[in-house]
């Protein structure tokens, strides 16, 4: 029902959604999110990006986030894919999809998973621009976004 992958290769959203639809005939709504490498980050041209992660902990922390979403909302499935390694502008980085009977639960849980993933899953981005390498700073907006979900 749930599916979590950390991989170097790109993913095919249509194929992922098709897999998701196969899981349950009750699905009426699928919310999904795709994160994309941006060309500009705080004014610096980004040539490529390198994504580091903590193998094992990454998958476990995503699993915990998804489990929490399943407890909060009525979901029929969740899929998360996060890419690692070298990525270029316009590349897909992350995919989150949640399925439900109705769209309210799908939208809320998809945004919740993204907000928590951004603050809890051990991934780190390094930008490799013509000016050199730069570790991306964490965004206070992301911390605030995750805090919204506290009871």
């Amino acid at each position: 029902m749930n599916h979590i992958r950390v991989q170097q290769e790109d993913f095919d959203v249509s194929a992922e959604l098709a897999q998701m639809r196969l899981c349950s005939k009750e699905i009426g709504a699928i919310a999904c999110f795709v994160g994309v490498v941006r060309d500009f980050n705080e004014g610096t041209a980004v040539a490529t990006m390198e994504l580091e992660h903590y193998p094992g902990m990454t998958e476990n922390s995503i699993r915990l986030i998804v489990d929490e979403a399943m407890q909060r909302w009525q979901l029929l499935g969740a899929r998360v894919i996060h890419r690692i390694g070298r990525l270029s502008p316009s590349d897909q980085i992350v995919f989150v999809a949640t399925s439900s009977l109705h769209r309210g639960d799908a939208f809320a849980s998809c945004e919740f998973i993204m907000d928590y993933l951004k603050t809890r899953a051990p991934f780190w981005k390094k930008e490799l621009s013509p000016q050199g390498e730069r570790w991306v700073d964490s965004r206070s907006d992301d911390v605030l976004a995750a805090q919204r979900w506290r009871d």
Binding site: G56, S61, H82
Partner: protein
Amino acid sequence: MIKVLFFARIREQLATTELEIDFLAQTQSIALLRQQLVADRGESWAQVLGAENVIVAVNQTVVSDSHSLSDGDEVAFFPPVTGG
């Protein structure tokens, strides 16, 4: 033995990906482990590992400085996450 991992900016600043350290009385908490690492490796490690926003995980769960360690634990030091 305790396995210690470093990630991202911290890994680069310390030029260390992974090390092993004997499990001793001196390493029974995160705070004590950090002191021991600084004692072994020098003052530059104090700055990097003592920075305000360093996150510590034990056996892949984020913990506080007062967390107790056991023989065989995996400890990781890393900066705030920036995935997604």
